[in-house]
């Protein structure tokens, strides 16, 4: 039985390779709504959050509306592009394309192979954890715009508040460090201290909580406004469900529960489909792209071992 997680891993690998193919194809300048770092050398796509932060900062720093106009224009285009991308794939961008998600999944697989368990955030704490990504998103926007306004006279402080997310973004720590290590970027590339500190925190989150960064990621905060308004839908049929609790246990984002039925997408659901892969009830969970069914849950039949097979 081919699980959809295999397809998803293939998609993540493909997108990881593609995003780094800039050395062949150059830079398209299209900002993707995932953490594809702007600081990489040879990147195919730009990072939407870089465009957002840069646009807000420059608009705020503009001395006249006429000067701000081009930045606002770029920002407007990026936002409309974001909306179109979000309508298309919604939060599935996170689990299918984002390279940070890819690294987290690889780390989880390694940890499971080593026999180490994980922490599941208990249900009573989930409600405190869920607003963090919105707070993070708000902070990034407010700092980017606010820092540029004329009330800070010291240019050094002002410039250090430029690109606040990029200080803690794991994509920078993961991929830019890699490029420095491989010599693609010069060894004296600017590596902020905060970025170095946030890297082990990201690692700990990924290893202890399976998808620690995704739970607080501001990108998910932005995409989650489209979590039900997109083409990738997830359904649960109450009568077919046996309430075995597997989906709740398996969901690393805390987005599964046993009461919601019909369209069960939550703001945290990144469409990783772990719930559907592990659901043992036939046709209980299903996913569609527009109106076409992509996959649904099935009883986990094993391929019986040789001794148990009957000679024909």
């Amino acid at each position: 039985m081919v699980k959809i997680s295999k397809t998803r891993t293939a998609s993540q690998t493909l997108s990881f390779i593609t995003i780094n193919l800039g050395f062949i194809a150059g830079n398209t300048g299209i900002p993707l709504v995932i953490l594809s770092c702007q600081f990489l050398k040879y990147r195919l796509f730009d990072c939407f959050f870089y465009v957002l932060q840069d646009g807000l900062f420059n608009s705020g720093a503009a001395t006249a509306p006429k000067v701000a106009a081009p930045y606002l224009y770029t920002l407007a285009i990026a936002l409309v592009l974001f909306v179109v991308m979000a309508l298309f794939l919604g939060t599935a961008w996170c689990a299918w394309i984002c390279p940070v998600g890819y690294v987290q999944d690889l780390l989880s697989k390694g940890r499971a192979k080593a026999g180490i368990g994980y922490f599941r955030i208990p249900d009573r704490f989930q409600k405190y954890v869920k607003p963090i990504k919105y707070i993070f998103l708000a902070a990034v926007i407010i700092i980017s715009f606010g820092a540029a306004l004329p009330w800070i006279s010291n240019t050094k402080i002002r410039n250090s508040l430029y690109l606040p997310l990029c200080y803690v973004c794991p994509a920078r720590a993961l991929f830019v460090y890699l490029q420095i290590f491989l010599g693609i970027l010069p060894a004296t590339t600017d590596v902020p201290l905060l970025s170095i500190i946030s890297f082990p925190i990201f690692l700990v989150g990924a290893l202890l909580f399976r998808k620690g960064w995704c739970i607080i990621c501001p990108n998910l905060g932005l995409l989650s406004f489209f979590h039900k308004l997109n083409a990738v839908s997830l359904f649960r049929r109450k009568v077919r469900c046996t309430k075995c609790g597997t989906c709740v246990r398996v969901c690393a984002m805390g987005a599964a529960d046993l009461e919601t039925q019909g369209d069960v997408s939550k703001p945290e659901c990144i469409r990783c489909y772990d719930c559907m892969d592990h659901c043992p009830a036939d046709k209980s969970r299903s996913t569609y792209f527009f109106k076409k069914k992509i996959a649904e849950s099935k009883f986990p039949a094993t391929r019986l071992r040789k001794e148990l097979l009957v000679e024909a």
């Binding site: 499971a112 026999g115 180490i116 368990g117 994980y118 922490f119 208990p122 249900d123 009573r124 004296t188 600017d190 590596v191 201290l193 170095i196 500190i197 890297f199 082990p200 925190i201 690692l203 700990v204 290893l207 202890l208 109450k238 009568v239 077919r240 469900c241 046996t242 309430k243 075995c244 609790g245 597997t246 246990r249 398996v250 046993l258 772990d274 592990h278 659901c279 043992p280 009883f299 986990p300 039949a301 094993t302 019986l304 071992r305 001794e307 148990l308 097979l309 009957v310």
Partner: protein
């Protein structure tokens, strides 16, 4: 950067801190929560009065044994007499006889130092028992003759399953019971909870506290604790640690068994089914006593034969025989009264909602997401609590959904709801189930019975009338369609 040297120092500090954090996290995660539990009473204290009672009963043991054998033989003969019975049922007949090869295997196993763990209900994880090196045996009893002796120790209006089981233990009638080193008694319904008190005098008892609520965080954590301490008790019993590999192997072999069982159920969806309900239920009940891998093999062979029969259109029932679902109180071998009655009256049982049948240990799989010790135990705890729709839980809404789903999938024409005397939990739920089935326009027949042959005639009449009603309703429906 100009701060390269101090940066290097910072880097080292950060690295050490993160390694320390990960190390502490690993310490927390790799040790599985094991709560301390008071030691169960190990020695069996048989009081004098009890000994006197047992001595009396031993006098009539020969009679009871003969009665038991005749009940089994009668049922098996009826099964054998079916026209066009699948050939691969022979193995299951031999298991059902309660004597012969299987008993010898178990004795040899015990002689070699192996431990046998007997259990009731579907709440006990057999995978853990296999992983610790012990042998699991499910101990419900369907013998009529052992009910009377147990009424010395249990109220007369108690559930007959429990009475029969206690009586079998008192008389040491079953070689399976005798071979058990311990009985595991989950506190599911009132009777199963309290019979542990009585059985304590005969054999060491382990209790498993089954919570009444499934939807609360704290009950799920309590149940996880129960499973973890059950695992630890098993390790102490067999002296073998449950390793990751052993548990994984037994989970995989149980999943093989579930795959085959699922396949068997799917095959019964055919119209008409290639195997009768009496036979299919026997196959299911054989898991209580048989070796799991061998059962999987034999059932797989049976499934292949059934597939052949479907192709060649060989069936055990007429194509217009009403398709019946059995639901309600457990029907335990050799109490085959109701299945035989229903099928002899011209219907065919296509599925059941019994905890001793389709909803037993092999119904839902254990969904392990990560093959770590913690992950496997969490999956086991979830599987052996949440999908079970035993009416000992409150609320139990999922049971209605399950019945609705089965009625749709198996194209059920009518439901026979079997209630045992004294089984109040099933009786209470009957009302809601009847209402739900009314909405689906499926007729229900409620039967209340006991471990006795006296009401055979009465039951037959009622069942036949019920089936006639279903038949005529179907014909009316058919004519309506053509008009």
């Amino acid at each position: 950067m100009l701060l390269f040297e101090s940066l290097g120092r910072f880097l080292i500090i950060i690295l050490i801190a993160s390694v320390a954090g990960l190390g502490i996290g690993w310490l927390f995660l790799s040790t599985v929560e094991r709560s301390e539990r008071k030691e169960e009473k190990k020695e069996t204290k048989k009081k004098d009065a009890l000994n006197a009672l047992l001595a009396n009963l031993k006098a009539s043991k020969g009679e009871t044994e003969a009665s038991a054998t005749s009940q089994i033989t009668l049922a098996l003969t009826n099964l054998a007499k079916q026209r066009r019975r699948p050939e691969n049922m022979q193995h299951f007949d031999s298991i059902a006889r309660f004597q012969g090869e299987r008993i010898d295997e178990i004795e040899a196993f015990k002689k070699a130092g192996g431990k046998v763990v007997g259990f009731f209900c579907s709440f006990v994880p057999i995978e853990l028992i296999y992983a610790s090196g012990a042998l699991p045996l499910r101990l419900d009893s369907g013998l009529y003759c052992t009910v009377a002796p147990s009424e010395q120790l249990l109220p007369s209006d108690a559930c007959p399953v429990v009475k029969s089981t206690l009586g079998t233990e008192m008389l040491e009638l079953s070689p399976y019971f005798k071979s058990c080193d311990v009985f595991v008694c989950p506190s599911s319904c009132d009777m199963k909870t309290k019979v542990a008190d009585v059985l304590e005098d005969f054999v060491p008892i382990w209790r498993l506290e089954v919570p009444r609520y499934k939807d609360e965080d704290w009950t799920k954590r309590a149940w996880q604790n129960e499973i973890n301490s059950f695992a630890r008790n098993l390790e102490k019993l067999t002296g073998q640690k449950i390793t990751r590999e052993a548990l994984r192997r037994s989970l995989e072999s149980a999943q093989d068994a579930r795959t085959v069982f699922h396949h068997l159920r799917e095959l019964r969806k055919t119209k008409p089914p290639p195997i009768s309900g009496r036979d299919a239920m026997l196959v299911t009940q054989a898991t209580a006593y048989d070796d799991l891998q061998r059962w999987t093999e034999k059932t797989n062979k049976l499934c292949s034969e059934l597939e052949q029969r479907i192709e060649n259109k060989i069936t055990v029932a007429d194509s217009d025989a009403p398709r019946i679902m059995l639901a309600g109180s457990p029907i335990v071998w050799p109490n085959w009264k109701i299945p035989i009655l229903v099928e002899e009256s011209g219907a065919v049982i296509v599925c059941d909602e019994l905890c001793t049948g389709d909803q037993g240990t092999l119904s839902d799989p254990v969904n392990v997401d990560e093959w770590t010790m913690k992950g496997m135990l969490a999956a086991l705890a979830d599987r052996y609590l949440l999908p079970i729709t035993c009416p000992c839980f409150t609320p139990n809404d999922k049971r209605i959904d399950k019945i609705v789903r089965m009625v749709r999938d198996f194209a059920v024409d009518g439901v026979v709801y079997h209630q045992l005397r004294g089984c109040y939990v099933h009786k209470i739920e009957f009302n809601r189930i009847r209402t739900a089935l009314k909405d689906l326009q499926v007729p229900v027949l409620g039967i209340e019975t006991d471990y006795t042959q006296e009401d055979l005639g009465q039951l037959r009449t009622r069942i036949e009338a019920f089936l006639e009603m279903i038949q005529s309703a179907k014909q009316v429906f058919a004519t309506e369609v053509t008009q």
